[in-house]
């Protein structure tokens, strides 16, 4: 309607031309959309489609022919404990993710009030997220190695008894790696929470403090409900992230010593054992699991758009 009105101003154009112009106007959004859509289809949907196809074959990643094997690969993924069993490793990261969210929420709340050196601390907490994952992995490799930073610090506090090969010992390796993950991704959650908290209008706090609400009440009744959508988003990301951990254990240990996660297993299957078909099936299974988790989460925590506004 708007378009016609604008066009209509001035000399009356012949109806044919007007219709053409109208059509052009209507097409413009789609022309703009076409570029990202073409990129998205080329680099996401077609490869994913191919992956589905590979998952039904016994392809080795190189052979000119791909033999169709039906659902055999899926059967393998779901029946072989050495493939699905590694999901247990994700539990460490899952627990770590909750710790991470709690700590991030804590810092975000504190630093949203008028704290001294606020900006400095914000920087300190967010900084690890900016460091390249490879660098983080190497830093912590030296941190955990025998006689490394952690052992030295323990010794400085007279706690030599706690020293151990942090990555070499099966009982600590996954705790160590999960804690690296918490350290690294804390900043992201922190910034998300902080942004959400800061978008809560100032006058609500004022009103609350006039009514005698303390900091805890403010958090409980203003901040928590105000940032609920961001929290629920963070949970989805945390769970999906815990299921698809890859970078840190892969770079630090190559998945050795019981640190292999499902994604590492998938990569090994595809590129070390050259079973691209089976690996594709594993990737599809992971994708489906993440979709299910997301769906469940949407049902449990509906997106209500915040009660404050």
């Amino acid at each position: 309607m708007q378009a016609i009105a604008v066009d209509g101003v001035g000399v009356a154009a012949p109806p044919r031309r007007r219709r053409a112009r109208r059509f052009r106007r209507a097409a413009i959004p789609y022309i703009f959309l076409a570029v990202p859509l073409i990129l998205l289809v080329t680099f996401t949907y077609i490869p994913v489609g191919n992956m589905f196809w590979y998952s039904l074959t016994d392809w080795d990643g190189l052979d000119k022919t791909k033999e169709f094997v039906g659902l055999d690969n899926y059967e393998d993924v779901l029946t072989r404990p050495e493939l699905y069993g590694v999901f247990w490793v994700s539990l460490y990261y899952f627990v770590g993710a909750f710790v991470q969210l709690a700590v991030a929420m804590y810092f975000a709340t504190i630093l949203s009030f008028n704290t001294r050196f606020k900006t400095f601390f914000k920087g300190v907490i967010f900084f690890p997220y900016l460091i390249n994952g490879v660098a983080v992995a190497f830093v912590f490799l030296y941190f955990f190695r025998p006689g490394g930073v952690l052992d030295s610090v323990l010794a400085a506090f007279g706690a030599e008894g706690l020293q151990r090969p942090w990555l070499g010992d099966r009982s600590t390796v996954n705790y160590s790696l999960a804690s690296v993950s918490v350290w690294r991704y804390l900043g992201l959650n922190f910034v998300l929470f902080l942004g959400a908290i800061q978008s809560i209008p100032e006058h609500l706090y004022e009103a609350a403090s006039i009514d005698g609400a303390n900091r805890w009440n403010q958090f409980r009744y203003i901040i928590a409900p105000g940032i609920k959508p961001v929290v629920s988003l963070s949970f989805i990301l945390a769970i999906a992230g815990a299921m698809s951990v890859f970078e840190i254990p892969y770079i630090m240990l190559g998945g050795a010593n019981g640190s292999a996660t499902f994604v590492i297993k998938t990569v090994d299957t595809a590129f070390k054992f050259n079973k691209v078909g089976l690996a594709s099936a594993m990737a599809v299974v992971l994708l489906v699991l993440i979709l299910i988790v997301t769906a469940v989460q949407r049902v449990l925590i509906p997106d209500e758009g915040g009660e404050l506004v």
Partner: protein, 466 residues
């Protein structure tokens, strides 16, 4: 766990990751002379219509009307990121003296195995390249140009059967490797050892002496890097002196039986770790540091192919301290060491400049002196082995070359290995042994061998091998 699905038929050194050296010695006038001779030979024999039409189709250099010369642009893929701007440049200068119209450019690939395999799904994977270890025998004709027959090339070159199928050779080894242990002579002497061990028991006793009498780590596993653990595998054949070891492996349900090569090799690894004769925390080892540590004597021994000697010498303050010993096992008083070809140089089937590619291949193998510079066994039967292997000559070590499997069984052992997901050349298999030996897994050596045997048997049954 079929990383290198072709047990035995493939070479196993993961050079891409390990080679960090700069061999100072560049081949001398001798090679230039030899080059002149062979260049004439190859260009006259290979010439003909093909040369012209090939280079025409690929917009070669303007000189391609001069019929006596091969011309064109070729791209050579290599795993030697460390040599590509130095030694290889010198090779090209030398090569261009005979083939001025061939323009050679290199692409050094860090993760050679991984990247090139993926690139081979297109047609663009260089003109001359090294055959990735994971390509199986039956796939060779799909990707590479046949270079000649096994009978014909076998008269001149070693290791021709390692990348061949149906009697045709698809790649020639760039160098050859012997297998055993690199060690620091000074440390071994300081521990009071004056004779090299001849059995696994003696080896263990010697490592114990090193632990007791010196500060050094007796044996360094390089567990974290992963691939160094696969170097143990390359010793198969050394223990039994049986060229048919691999062929026979495909015929048994229990390769890990008392006395077999795999049993001896893996037992030694297990026992060394279980006796605490390795580094404190294997999961945090570092390959680059380990090279320096071997030189300074902080590490006494590392199981590695002979390709590693040059690198260790370079990293050592005193290169004379670096020695090389065969696997501690003898047959009738003689040491044997399995010799195998390194990566094989091949020509892309889709290359537009096959003539020029072949000229480079022949030059590189015959005349560049690459194998000699890199401390290897010459790929030519009449070639000179590198001085680094002279220690072996003194010990009277004899080389065992694994014989090719009979026709129709090419790559069979590798297929079983792949189906069983054991991964003879994958770190996971031996990391498990190390983990069990240092008490991190609830498995004994016998448990592991039993499991490997049952997986092997199941894979044989699955593939219907008799």
């Amino acid at each position: 766990m079929p990383h290198h699905p072709v047990l035995g038929r493939r070479n196993e050194s993961h050079k891409g990751e390990m080679m960090r050296i700069r061999p100072g010695r560049v081949s001398a006038a001798l090679f230039i002379l030899a080059l002149g001779a062979s260049a004439c030979g190859s260009s006259s024999s290979d010439e003909g219509g093909a040369a012209v039409s090939e280079s025409d189709s690929d917009d070669a250099t303007p000189d391609n009307e001069s019929e006596a010369t091969v011309s064109g642009d070729i791209t050579v893929l290599t795993n030697r990121t460390d040599l590509v701007d130095t030694v290889f440049k010198d090779y090209v200068t030398e090569f261009n003296e005979s083939y001025p119209d061939v323009d050679v450019s290199f692409e050094a690939v860090t993760d050679y195995e991984g990247e090139v395999r993926i690139r081979m799904n297109t047609e663009d994977y260089g003109d001359v390249l090294l055959i990735p270890n994971s390509v199986s025998a039956d796939q060779l004709p799909d990707f590479f140009e046949p270079l000649g027959t096994v009978d014909e090339l076998g008269e001149t070159y070693r290791f021709v059967t390692e990348q061949s199928v149906g009697g045709d050779v698809y790649g020639i080894a760039q160098t050859g490797n012997a297998n055993g242990f690199v060690y620091n002579k000074a440390v071994w002497a300081e521990a009071g050892i004056d004779e090299l061990p001849t059995s696994p028991e003696e080896f263990l006793a010697d490592l114990q002496l090193i632990k007791d009498n010196t500060e050094a780590t007796p044996l360094y596993t390089n567990y974290a890097a992963g691939w160094p653990l696969t170097q143990w595998e390359s010793n198969r054949g050394s223990i039994s002196n049986d060229p048919d070891y691999l062929t026979n492996m495909a015929k048994t349900d229990a390769p890990w039986t008392e006395g077999s090569d795999h049993f001896v090799i893996d037992s030694l690894l297990y026992d060394v770790v279980a006796a605490g004769l390795v580094e404190g925390d294997p999961t945090t080892t570092d390959w680059e540091t380990s090279k320096v540590d071997l030189g300074t004597g902080a590490i006494a021994t590392m199981p590695l192919g002979s390709w590693a000697i040059v690198q260790m010498e370079e990293a050592a303050a005193n290169p004379d301290d670096i020695g090389y010993m065969p696997f501690p096992s003898q047959v009738d008083g003689t040491y044997y060491s399995t010799a195998n070809g390194d990566y094989k140089v091949a020509i892309n089937k889709n290359s537009g400049n096959k003539e020029a590619a072949r000229a480079w291949l022949d030059f590189f193998i015959d005349d560049s002196g690459f194998a000699f510079d890199q401390g290897g066994i010459s790929p030519r039967l009449d070639g000179e082995n590198a001085p680094q292997l002279s220690g072996f000559t003194e010990l009277g070590v004899e080389f065992v070359e694994l014989a090719p499997p009979p026709a129709g069984e090419e790559g069979l052992t590798g297929e079983i290995d792949a189906e069983a997901e054991i991964g003879a050349f994958d770190a996971i298999y031996r990391q498990r042994i190390v983990d069990a030996a240092r008490g991190q897994l609830d498995e004994s050596k016998e448990d592991i061998f039993a499991d490997l045997n049952s997986r092997w048997a199941a894979a044989r049954a699955e593939l219907g091998v008799n």
